[in-house]
């Protein structure tokens, strides 16, 4: 197995668990407060990272900008997904629609980063997005507060 696939699978499992813990949280407190405590945990984790690693001040500017932009983009994405749900969008439609986000990553990576996919990987990307959409469709009887499908 490729090393990258192992880490991708680990991310999948950890983010998958957050789907449950986020739901357990938003069943008890507002999505805003939940998001805030989520952010405090990120700050705590970053504090732990700082204990073992010092920022490298020779890093390329573009790398640092992209890294910081990543946090802003992902956080804002979580916020806009909550706004979509609060603006009257049906959870089943909103969550299915936003599950399309990897499609944009694929398009941008191919166009801007010049990545090339084999036909099997292309089929896999399409299948993955279809699977994510189907998995996000909760049974109609389950209408608890939607925790969204944040990527973080």
């Amino acid at each position: 197995m490729h090393a990258w696939l192992g880490f991708a699978a680990l991310a999948l499992v950890l983010w998958g668990i957050t789907g449950v813990t986020q739901k357990l949280s938003t069943n008890r407190i507002s999505s805003e407060r939940s998001f805030l405590w989520f952010c405090w945990a990120m700050v705590t984790l970053s504090g732990a990272v700082l204990l073992v690693e010092r920022p490298d001040y020779t890093l390329r500017g573009i790398v640092v900008i992209c890294s910081i932009a990543g946090g802003a983009l992902n956080g804002l994405g979580a916020w806009t997904s909550f706004r979509a749900l609060e603006s009257g969008g049906k959870a089943s439609i909103v969550i299915s629609l936003i599950s399309l986000y990897p499609l944009l990553t694929v398009v941008l990576a191919v166009l801007l980063l010049h990545e090339r996919l084999t036909w099997m990987q292309s089929a896999g990307a399409v299948t993955a997005i279809a699977a994510a959409i189907l998995l996000s469709l909760e049974p109609a009887s389950k209408t608890g507060p939607s925790s969204g499908s944040s990527a973080d």
């Binding site: 192992g6 983010w15 945990a41 990120m42 984790l45 603006s87 009257g88 896999g124 993955a128």
Partner: protein, 142 residues
């Protein structure tokens, strides 16, 4: 265009772009520092949300609040560790165009956990999604 659709499309653009910029970042920074910078990028939004929570007086004591905070905090820790694994996958040579669709399958784990621990029932469509998810992982790892 309905407002919810606009917010949904904005989410696709924001998260879709995140995958690409993370790949660029991973060419020059390790996964841990990437998470550190990521949190720095998250801070302005955190301040904004803190302000809205303060304004709405959402801090009123409510039953189950401590448990809600605990689960939210755990979500952040697990989410952050998931980010580090995601960044490491990119550092290890994973293409953004492959890693993003693989990790986007995380509802697979959520659904399985909800099935086992929360005793939620899966719809036929979700079972189909489960099957497709495994097929996708096989195809993407080829």
């Amino acid at each position: 265009m309905p407002l919810w659709l606009l917010w949904s499309l904005a989410t696709i653009v924001l998260w879709g772009t995140w995958g690409m910029v993370s790949k660029i970042a991973s060419t020059g920074v390790d996964a841990y520092l990437n998470q550190l910078f990521y949190t720095a990028g998250l801070t302005p939004l955190m301040a904004f949300v803190a302000w809205t929570v303060y304004r709405s007086k959402a801090g009123r004591k409510r039953e189950g609040q401590a448990a809600g905070v605990f689960w939210a905090f755990l979500t952040g820790i697990l989410g952050g560790l998931g980010n580090i694994a995601f960044f490491e996958a990119l550092v290890k040579g994973g293409k953004a165009s492959v890693v993003a669709p693989v990790t986007a399958l995380f509802p697979l784990v959520t659904v399985l956990l909800a099935l086992v621990f929360l005793r939620e029932r899966l719809s036929r469509v979700q079972w189909l999604g489960l099957g497709l998810a495994f097929a996708a992982i096989y195809l993407l790892s080829a």
